[in-house]
């Protein structure tokens, strides 16, 4: 700070010596200089404000509303008749009988469903697909979803069969369609799963005879023997990118599926219906899942419509996922009560201020928000609807939990009716649409099924959090340059603008390392032989260490641990590190906000606090010891594996030793397999920054 001021004075002096008039800098420049000069204070203030804003988010949530005029949910009277519902019941009964008689005859169930569909007047076809596992393709990040390559020889033993039926809109132009998906595992699906077929069948029977369709309806019964996601993805891939090669599977089975894949128009929306487990509450429960890959969300209007109809028309209890463990956390409760008290106080001061919410609501909201943030940050879709998002189709999964056991046929009828009416209403709303969903939000976080936080609000928390980074970087750079100038005693040698080059080289080298590390798992997976995740993680760790060593040895000047006399100044190194972290975080916030937010929570305090511990330890004052301890703790938490362990611990699964490595490896593998950008972020932003912080921590200054 002092140096900066002196610099300023010198500059002014030079100017006055020249005789030129003293130019007063512009206000914005003055402000910048002021901020940089007091960067310590401001960084603390901004970071605290950022965390505070994050905690305030549940308070700032707005009620959802239906933005698109054309939707008009719930305006139409349901036309579902008892005959439709009994059609559904009959299908469920037939499936149950079939499963009792033919154990394991998968194709029979599909045939039965197909028969029912065609009886209702739909166009039916079967699609076979390879249930191949998700392949590691690190270079296919952000590529299109059509990267499923068929392996050479696939045995006929394991393949899936999707059944799809299309109802054409009687007076529609056939250019648009609405998709209804019911995943069903024909071999070991429970009785609850069959109920979803019952609901869909009731609905389909209705839709086959109505006159108001403007979009075609596709009902896809996805064969979920190999997971929910894969069959839907395979069907979508075939729908959008037809393959003209004869599939190996066509000759596999008695089901003649060749040349019969039928299509309807562009998909306006897709609904995935699942029925599982018994509801714990008195009412039937409807859970809405919306997160697709990389934190992409469907248009909020789709959720609103489903939520509105479920709550106001069918009387479901609607919920979205929440982090249950947060509900019992004491500190969050205290924060909630604090906010409640503040809100009440504000209300007494001015009756127009109504921002306070009850502590219980706050707790619920933040638990839901945390879950929303986590699911988005993970970048893994929370259900088969994720496959639709890859084709820019808005889709949600509706998971219904009935409050009766599946054997209770008396209740089943009423349950089918309500489920089908909910879907009918939603489909009718989507049917009313004239354009794609575009009116409402795409970037939002949910704090309850009826409340959301839009991008304009939640970006503030992130912006406040990362705002100190450039300030501190600038301030450190000025400090570091002055220190260097003093150390060499030769101003001519140290061109001011080139001082950061050494540090930049080091930062670049570590980022390159991060890139290599990111690609490594792919090569490790190519290593022949079966390996447990633990083994793989050990292989990964050893390879990384060796690569790190090689980097240090072969490229002089880039070594983070070299103790050369004229090594880079740590302040400049930290400045460049912070700049890199800033750029990385800002880029990530565009790709996946939630990842960037959580990353910023970890990276920002770590980058701001870290400084060499050697001089701190030498000075032995309480303040500096505390400081070094702080930075040590932050750097420890910042290590991705460590953070993963802490998260697991918070959720309640204790992990120790090597199994932790294995778990972490599996987690990383899943990120990779789902093409999550979070994986790239960890490898190319977080890890290098963490390594650089480590370098600074052990800097020999």
């Amino acid at each position: 700070m002092a140096t900066e001021k002196r610099d300023d004075k010198e500059n002014e002096a030079v100017k006055t010596d020249d005789g030129s008039p003293k130019i007063k800098p512009r206000p914005i420049v003055q402000l910048g200089i002021f901020l940089i000069a007091h960067s310590h204070v401001f960084s603390v203030v901004f970071s605290a404000a950022g965390i505070m804003a994050l905690l305030l988010l549940p308070l700032l949530a707005k009620n959802t509303y239906i933005s698109e005029n054309a939707l008009m949910p719930g305006s139409a009277r349901s036309m579902l008749s008892h005959r439709d519902v009994s059609d559904g019941s009959k299908l469920v009964k037939d499936i149950k009988n079939l499963r009792l008689n033919h154990e394991g005859q998968g194709v029979e169930v599909q045939r039965l469903i197909g028969k029912y569909m065609s009886e209702m007047g739909a166009e039916v076809y079967y699609q076979k697909f390879h249930p191949e596992g998700n392949q590691f393709h690190p270079l296919h990040f952000f590529s299109g979803p059509d990267s499923y390559t068929l392996l050479g020889n696939v045995s006929c033993a394991s393949y899936g069969v999707n059944v799809a039926g299309i109802i054409r809109a009687p007076r529609g132009d056939g250019k648009e369609s609405i998709v209804l998906v019911t995943p069903y595992d024909s071999t070991n699906g429970g009785d609850y799963e069959a109920l979803s077929l019952g609901i869909a069948s009731s609905l389909f029977s209705l839709l086959a005879r109505v006159t108001w369709l403007s979009k075609d309806i596709i009902w896809l019964v996805a064969d979920s023997r190999h997971g929910d996601y894969r069959p839907v993805a395979a069907w979508l891939s075939e729908y959008h990118t037809p393959s003209f090669k004869a599939s190996d599977l066509s000759k596999c089975d008695e089901l003649n599926t060749s040349h019969s894949f039928r299509r309807a128009g562009t998909m306006a929306a897709a609904l995935v219906l699942k029925v599982d487990g018994r509801s714990e509450r008195f009412e039937d429960t409807l859970s809405i899942f919306a997160e697709a890959s990389n934190g992409q969300m469907p248009n909020l209007d789709l959720i609103n419509v489903a939520n509105y109809l479920a709550v106001h028309r069918q009387g479901f209890y609607v919920k979205v996922e929440k982090v249950v463990s947060l509900l019992s956390s004491t500190w969050l409760k205290i924060v909630g009560e604090l906010f409640e008290a503040v809100g009440k106080m504000a209300h007494t001061l001015n009756p127009d201020w109504n921002f306070g919410i009850p502590a219980a609501d706050y707790l619920e909201g933040s638990a839901t928000l945390a879950s929303s943030l986590y699911s988005q940050a993970l970048g893994i879709p929370t259900g088969p609807h994720g496959a639709f998002r890859d084709y820019q189709v808005d889709a949600i999964t509706l998971k219904v939990s009935p409050r009766f056991s599946p054997d209770n046929t008396a209740r089943q009828h009423e349950f089918f009716q309500r489920g089908a009416q909910l879907l009918e209403g939603t489909i009718r709303s989507v049917n009313n649409l004239l354009e794609k969903f575009h009116q409402s939000f795409f970037l939002y976080l949910l704090t309850s099924p009826g409340k959301f936080i839009s991008v304009g609000v939640y970006m503030i928390a992130f912006a406040l959090l990362v705002a100190p980074l450039p300030m501190v970087a600038a301030s450190l750079y000025i400090d570091g340059c002055n220190a260097l100038t003093k150390a060499t005693h030769n101003p001519a040698e140290n061109l001011k603008s080139w001082k950061w080059l050494d540090a930049a080289k080091q930062v670049l080298a570590l980022h390159l390392l991060g890139f290599i590390v990111t690609l490594l798992p792919y090569f490790i997976c190519q290593v022949p032989g079966e390996h447990s995740p633990t083994n793989r993680s050990i292989m990964w760790a050893t390879t990384i260490s060796s690569v790190l060593l090689i980097t240090c040895v072969t490229i002089p000047g880039c070594s983070p641990f070299s103790s050369r006399l004229h090594g880079t100044n740590w302040a400049v190194l930290k400045s460049v590190t912070i700049s890199a972290a800033f750029i990385g975080l800002c880029l990530m916030s565009i790709i996946n906000f939630a990842t960037a937010e959580i990353g910023a929570l970890l990276l920002v305090p770590m980058c701001l606090m870290v400084r060499p511990i050697k001089p701190d330890l030498r000075s032995r004052s309480v303040k500096s010891l505390l400081r070094s301890l702080c930075s040590m703790v932050l750097v420890t938490i910042g290590f991705p594996v460590m953070f993963f362990a802490i998260c697991k611990g918070l959720i309640g699964e204790g992990l120790v030793g090597l199994s932790l490595g294995g778990e972490f490896w599996t987690w990383l593998e899943s990120l990779w397999a789902w093409k999550s950008a979070t994986y790239l972020y960890i490898g190319m932003v977080h890890l290098p920054c963490w390594l650089l912080c480590l370098c600074i921590l052990f800097h020999p200054s």
Partner: protein, 403 residues
């Protein structure tokens, strides 16, 4: 020279004639026209089309023929795939009254409904190729009903999600119409949000304006037809679930009123809308309109009730001239006090009608009769004649001195 003088004399006489003709609203009512405009597209605006078709049905039932109705519909709801009743449009949930029945002649449809075309229809400035059926061929004796519905705001009405008709555009068009003598009386009926603001700039005499809502008010849809399906009226970011969409409240109650009328009814225009039913306040702008509303029968605009003259034989025009113009039928529904019973028009307290009764209706002598009537009506005929003679003398002196 004499020949020239005669010509000048003739000219002066013609001038006098035209002066007498244009002074005052003494032109007789010759015919009725209706311009019915629905300005909004899309399925969720079903009610706007239903509004317009309701009015269309009414004016047609009350006697305006199709060639004198310009119907502008921005979208085709009847054939929309979302319509549960193909090729039918209803304005009521009981689906009894199909507004899209036989013989609906739509003059401007779909994307033809633009501000430009609308103004062209009003002002009559068409390209040569535009057929007569698409033109408003009214004359100085016409009564025109202009009905508009759609989404409006403060001093504007939205056309097709793309353009706006502003209040001064409308006022300008009306002024042009007045100057071109395209109407005798014009009634503008607008059913939109803040409809009253659309009339702010009107200045031309002979214009009666009725709007469904005042400034700052919304015009609400009447009720929800769950089969046709529509709801949610947008209002300043809030949603009110009152329903319809099959018809707007203002038009619904207007239509409910008209459905009880037939061509012989004498219900006057001076009916009141209940603000509680409308959920907005109906607005009348009468300062440009001379007659008292209570004296104007609705059929003045909504029907085509001409005076008819009984003749004993087809070609003997002057034998009898019994005007049976307005048959004073009893109101069929006495329980509706808002209907103002019109006094017998043949009463002596209406001098205009008495004059009309004396008119000769033979087409050959129409012109002369009109002129005669005009001259008769002028109180200061003597001064007029004196003035004319003075002018003639002046002209003669001037012309002779020039020659």
């Amino acid at each position: 020279i004499f020949f020239l003088k005669m010509k000048i004399l003739l000219l002066v006489m013609l001038l006098c004639y035209s002066f007498a003709f244009s002074s005052g609203d003494t032109t007789i009512h010759t015919n009725n026209w209706a311009v019915l405009v629905c300005t909004s597209r899309f399925w969720f605006n079903y009610r706007h089309m239903a509004n317009t078709l309701s009015l269309y049905r009414t004016v047609k039932r009350l006697g305006i023929p199709d060639e004198r109705i310009i119907l502008m519909l921005a979208d085709d709801m009847a054939c929309n795939a979302r319509n549960e009743y193909p090729a039918q449009v209803f304005n009521n949930e009981n689906h009894k009254l199909n507004l899209y029945g036989d013989n609906v002649e739509v003059d401007y449809r779909g994307y033809e409904v633009t501000v430009e075309n609308f103004l062209r229809v009003l002002t009559g400035r068409h390209e040569n190729a535009v057929p007569r059926s698409k033109r408003l061929l009214s004359d100085e004796g016409s009564h025109i009903l202009l009905y508009m519905t759609g989404h409006g705001g403060d001093e504007f009405l939205k056309f097709q999600d793309a353009e706006e008709l502003q209040s001064h555009d409308l006022a300008d068009a009306v002024k042009q119409m007045k100057e071109k003598r395209r109407f005798k009386e014009l009634m503008i009926m607008v059913d939109t949000c803040q409809a009253a603001t659309l009339f702010n700039q009107l200045q031309s005499p002979g214009v009666l304006a009725i709007g469904s809502s005042l400034k700052g008010e919304n015009s609400y849809s009447h009720h929800l037809d769950s089969d046709v399906s529509a709801l949610y009226y947008f209002m300043n970011g809030m949603y009110i679930t009152i329903g319809v969409s099959v018809v707007d409240r203002f038009t619904y109650y207007t239509l409910a009123f008209f459905e009880r009328l037939d061509i012989y009814d004498n219900a006057s225009l001076n009916r009141s809308y209940d603000p509680r039913q409308l959920m907005s306040t109906a607005y009348y702008r009468t300062d440009l309109y001379q007659p008292h509303l209570a004296e104007v029968p609705v059929t003045n605009f909504f029907g085509s009730v001409m005076e008819t003259i009984h003749t004993d034989s087809a070609y003997e025009a002057f034998s009898s001239r019994i005007s049976n113009s307005k048959i004073n039928a009893d109101m069929p529904l006495d329980q509706h006090p808002e209907h103002d019973l019109k006094e017998n028009l043949q009463n002596a307290n209406n001098p205009n009608d008495d004059l009309k009764n004396e008119k000769q209706k033979c087409p050959y002598t129409q012109m002369r009769a009109d002129l005669q009537e005009k001259l008769e009506k002028l109180e200061n005929v003597d001064t007029m004649v004196n003035l004319s003679i003075a002018v003639m003398v002046l002209v003669v002196i001037v012309s002779s001195s020039l020659l």
